[in-house]
């Protein structure tokens, strides 16, 4: 392995609806010295690729995937492009980049792109999905979320949300958009791109770390205005310690049947037999490896799991998880 290359190179997905400012954000991020060792992979839907010219850093670590959307038509091409970058890095043909940013088209579904990293037999040994950053247009975002399911799914999949064009929108519109965004994705940090100096490192850093859970987990009001969509979030709180094996049986079964409707699962678990909590994080069918946290963020020792779902009854999820967690009988513990 080339010197200075991490064992698993983090891959950030930069997504957001058409015209929401992904390339502008990428250009700003790449100007940050903290991201000097970053390779970039740009996907465009049109026949003529333009975005890579706008990034203003054309070198051998900027790869353009054209004529198709990453999420459906050219997933194989995405895997091949990342494999090729990896191969050229190993051979010293390109600089030893320590991070890869994939800018998707505005129409891409985030999940298939993330799953490519996990499913490809080569990539999964060298790359790991890092934070998903979604840009939301402050002027047009609200109508895009209401009209286009891709936009809603991009917001739901985000680990970080960047509100763009806030200087062009009035505060009332921004507040309305924020309320809608919070209903779909209750706890991803929101940054306003126009008003703050962007901390590139904080924006792209790995998710699922202990610091992610220091903020209280939030969810939408039970009877909140749905704005015509069926996507909502809720928290399941479990008083008793969770059995990891029963939880694994339950979540794999849930995601097998409802993975396309369970947009996100993020939680902090009090596992039976474990002193420290374990953080879990999933985007649709893709479950990241659970993370052992060093300590509890506060005095609360209960498990809290946030779900962002599309048309699933929260009460059924709660009841089902409770029923599965009770499958661990004293007889099972003596086996």
């Amino acid at each position: 392995m080339a010197e200075g290359v991490p064992a698993f190179t983090p891959v950030n997905l930069l997504t957001g609806f058409l015209g929401s400012g992904k390339t502008t954000l990428l250009r700003r991020l790449l100007a940050d010295p903290a991201l000097s060792g970053t390779a970039v992979l740009i996907n465009e839907f049109g026949e003529v690729g333009l975005d890579h010219h706008l990034v203003e850093r054309i070198d051998e670590t900027v790869v353009l995937l054209q004529s198709g959307c990453l999420c459906c038509t050219i997933r194989g091409e995405l895997a091949l492009a990342i494999r090729d970058l990896h191969s050229r890095r190993e051979r010293g043909i390109v600089p030893a980049f320590g991070r890869l940013v994939v800018e998707s088209t505005g129409l891409a579904e985030p999940f298939p792109i993330l799953s490519t990293l996990k499913a490809d037999p080569v990539l999964r040994h060298h790359f790991r999905a890092a934070a998903v950053v979604t840009t939301v247009d402050a002027v047009n975002g609200l109508s895009q979320i209401e009209r286009h399911s891709q936009s809603t799914r991009q917001v739901a999949a985000a680990d970080r949300l960047v509100l763009t064009k806030t200087d062009l929108a009035d505060e009332k519109t921004v507040a309305k958009l924020l309320a809608q965004v919070r209903r779909i994705n209750p706890d991803a940090p929101v940054v306003r791109s126009g008003e703050t100096d962007l901390d590139a490192d904080a924006l792209l850093n790995r998710v699922g770390t202990a610091s992610e859970f220091h903020a209280p987990l939030m969810c939408d009001a039970p009877n909140g205005d749905s704005h015509g969509t069926h996507i909502r979030s809720f928290v399941v709180t479990v008083e008793e310690p969770i059995d990891w094996t029963a939880f694994g049986v339950w979540l794999t079964m849930l995601l097998n049947r409802h993975g396309d409707k369970v947009l996100r699962v993020k939680g902090i678990l009090n596992l039976a037999g474990e002193a420290a909590p374990v953080a879990i994080h999933a985007v649709q069918h893709l479950v990241h490896n659970p993370v052992h946290m060093a300590r509890w963020p506060d005095e609360d020792r209960r498990s809290h799991i946030v779900f962002i779902v599309d048309g699933i009854d929260p009460d059924l999820v709660r009841r089902s998880l409770t029923a599965f967690n009770a499958l661990v009988t004293p007889q099972a513990e003596r086996v």
């Binding site: 094996t245 339950w250 079964m253 849930l254 409802h258 089902s320 029923a323 599965f324 009770a326 099972a332």
Partner: protein
């Protein structure tokens, strides 16, 4: 890979990873590892019985999923369990289905 049976080594399913450090790695205590697998078989079977199938440990490396009539499939981990169960039984394995939840709740009582 085992050259006799063709089973790939090094399971990487998320449910097999770090929640209990060492349990699923070959370097850890073999007894702990076997106990954990037995526990998994026991819990999964309490759900699978509702669909007329069951799993059993297969040499500590995989699981055998079998119907009552003997149709059998080898599965590597929990990620493969549910698609295989639906395939073998021709039924939908839905953890949110009310009859399943009610049946599990009654079995606790």
């Amino acid at each position: 890979m085992c050259s006799l049976c063709g089973v790939l080594g090094g399971n990487e399913h998320w449910a097999d990873t770090v929640a209990r450090p060492g349990v699923y790695t070959r370097n850890a205590s073999a007894i702990e590892r076997r106990r954990e697998r037995a526990n998994r078989v026991h819990i999964a079977n309490r759900v699978l019985v509702q669909f007329g199938v069951a799993i059993s440990d297969w040499r500590g490396t995989a699981f055998l999923l079998s119907t009552r009539t003997g149709k059998t499939e080898i599965i590597a981990d929990l990620g493969h369990l549910w698609p295989a169960a639906e395939n073998l039984t021709g039924r939908v394995c839905d953890p949110l289905a009310l009859p399943l939840i009610e049946s599990l709740e009654q079995s606790h009582g």
